[in-house]
């Protein structure tokens, strides 16, 4: 019996390491949205496949984007 593991395909390498032209910018919520769940929670790197360094940058960028209201803290109970 095989269970379908994840909708998010596991990557062999971090996409940001693989493509140095991909910038991580807190002002770009369209790109950052890819790294949060529907509820706005940050997707862990074991699922996103990011390396530790780029996951840290993504996390930092998402937190900044949240602070300046470009991204939600949560979509359940907006403050």
């Amino acid at each position: 019996m095989r269970r379908r593991r994840r909708a998010f395909p596991r990557r062999k390498v971090c996409r940001f390491c693989a493509d140095s032209s991909l910038a991580i910018d807190y002002k770009d919520p369209k790109m950052l949205k890819y790294f949060v769940t529907e509820r706005g929670k940050i997707i862990p790197r074991r699922i996103s496949g990011n390396c530790a360094r780029h996951q840290r940058r993504i996390t930092t960028a998402i937190k900044k984007a949240r602070h300046i209201a470009l991204m939600p803290y949560t979509t359940i109970q907006p403050h």
Binding site: S20, A23, D25, K27, H67, I68, A69, L70, P78
Partner: protein, 136 residues
């Protein structure tokens, strides 16, 4: 000098004149504190991801400038006290820049926050050729 950027949100009920007044005041703080304005860009009205001071929209403005830490403190103090400004965030883009390298108010494509040097990747023929072996 250091290079900073501040992204801030102006209340959505602002008129064109209000936005202009905010721009003059904020830019005045930069120049008044011996800073140098690199770019001031109004990004238009956007929906906020959550309500801020009871508003669900706001005018985003991105300002790129050079200065010292006391300028940032003064700028943020002004923004905190100004009711037209809903929220702000400041990032340091570079620790030491030469003001001569920047033309005032000349809009440039903004660089990445962590200025990674763009190096042309050298083509290394020896790497990963297993797959192409089969093609004959």
């Amino acid at each position: 000098m250091r290079r900073y950027e501040t992204l801030f949100i102006v209340t959505p009920d602002s008129s064109e004149e209000d936005l202009k007044a905010v721009a003059e005041k904020i830019q005045g703080v930069v120049t008044g504190m011996n800073g140098k304005l690199v770019n001031y860009k109004e990004q238009g009205k956007k929906k906020l991801a959550y309500n801020v001071k009871k508003q669900n929209k706001g005018y985003y403005v991105l300002m790129d400038y050079l200065g010292l830490a006391d300028l940032v403190a003064e700028l943020e103090r002004n923004m905190r006290l100004d009711e037209r400004i809903l929220k702000y965030i400041t990032l340091k883009l570079a620790d030491t820049v030469d003001p001569e390298d920047f033309e005032v108010q000349e809009p440039e494509p903004s660089e990445d926050t962590e200025s990674v040097a763009e190096v042309e990747p050298e083509v290394d023929e020896t790497v990963e050729t297993q797959e192409s072996e089969e093609e004959r």
